[in-house]
Symmetry: none
Subunit: 243 residues, 2 copies
């Protein structure tokens, strides 16, 4: 079975100007990995209608599923819905169910900034999974999520189960020897286990080990055999421990 | 004058799979902001030759300057140089100066994993600014930086001044005291000099100092007065030196 692929598009000048550090992409990366979905791209773009539209359109065509983060509030710079509509050549419309939700929610007059939050690209679906006070907007394979980390997380968790494919099994070796000293053994292991996903991460400030090596596969037996192979290659004194 | 634009390309499966949280893009965003350079895109791509090549090529054509992070070590998954070479239609060659540096550095035989670290796209320039033990590789408008955060930071800081547009004047204080002990003095300085850009960068592995404090302004006299103010606040024994 082909892997299900995903891309994340984070929208916001505040991140590109260094005023806010994005945490939504890293959260999504961990969640998708656990679900067995292969996150293959993260793109951070400015609050620019054309750039948002083009980036979302291209990634929606290239990946199975796209998540956007940010730009869905009531202010002038919240232009994600308009950007997506433009990119897909759709009209931007007020979704009647969202207008109704907003009216009940605000208990007052729907001012233009509030009404703006009912705008979606034509053809959007509202997802009311879980106990969300406000639905997730889906446009084709694009899931539009808010930028505020707590809300991003809450909304993703409510729709999370839709994306489960099959999970990876991960094993780890911590090496006391530097990366250059174990590189040949990593290569040998990869030659013997070509389907293995092998990662090697040097750590500078860690007294216990110099390199964290990760071995991954969707086949548990395969990854265990690869671990045994690598451990048998490495000088025993270089191994701090395995996990 | 048109803004100078920049893009950051972060390379690494470990980030897309959620095993490592990237911090280099956020660091770069803050630094470029201070320099007056407009960071307009951050893209995180997998360890894939074709994707790296295409992404770097497209962004090098679309922005004034491109920074890459990661994929320049000795292991099988370090393919940034090969990716850039492929994307630009250049050969991948051993740079004689890098081979020489590596030979001096390793004091031993240059094994293939070590020699791999001398590979660059044909036509690359080596930048020996500052006191770098190992140069920065530049290919056209592309600056190739390592993924390990301490090294990414060290190398960027060594070449930082090249990118100043409407430059800031920067003064630095190295503090032997931890950040928590000097925070109140930083706040007091900022209260007295509200236009000052003040940065505080703790360093974990540095025997000489614990915090590098940067003071910045486009007005040289202003930043010098602010430095005098901060130095007069700090306990004298906490100051290693100023720059």
């Amino acid at each position: 079975m082909r892997n299900k692929t995903a891309a994340a598009i984070v929208i916001g000048n505040e991140i590109l100007s260094g005023k806010v550090v994005d945490s939504n992409a890293a959260f999504l990366a961990r969640e998708l990995r656990a679900l067995g979905v292969s996150l293959e791209r993260i793109v951070i773009v400015p609050d620019d209608l054309g750039v948002i539209g083009e980036t979302v359109r291209d990634h929606a065509a290239g990946f199975d599923v796209v998540f956007t983060s940010g730009g869905v509030g009531p202010t002038h710079d919240d232009i994600t819905m308009a950007g997506i509509a433009g990119g897909l050549g759709r009209e931007l419309v007020h979704h009647p169910l969202l207008v109704e939700k907003l009216r009940a929610f605000t208990k007052g007059e729907l001012t233009p900034p509030k009404l703006k939050m009912a705008e979606v690209p034509a053809g959007a679906e509202l997802i009311f999974d879980g106990t969300l006070p406000f639905p997730v907007v889906r446009v084709d394979n694009i899931y539009v999520l808010p930028g505020i980390p707590e809300l991003f997380c809450e909304k993703f968790m409510a729709i999370r189960s839709r994306f489960a494919v099959d999970p990876f099994f991960v094993r780890v070796v911590y090496s006391r020897a530097p990366e250059s000293a174990i590189a040949a053994h990593l290569d040998a292991t990869l030659a013997a286990f070509p389907e293995l996903l092998l990662g090697s991460y040097p750590k500078l400030c860690e007294p216990e080990y110099q390199v964290r090596v990760t071995l991954e596969s969707k086949d548990e037996t395969y990854v265990n055999c690869a671990l045994d192979h690598l451990v048998s290659c490495l000088p025993p004194e270089s191994i701090v421990r395995t996990e």
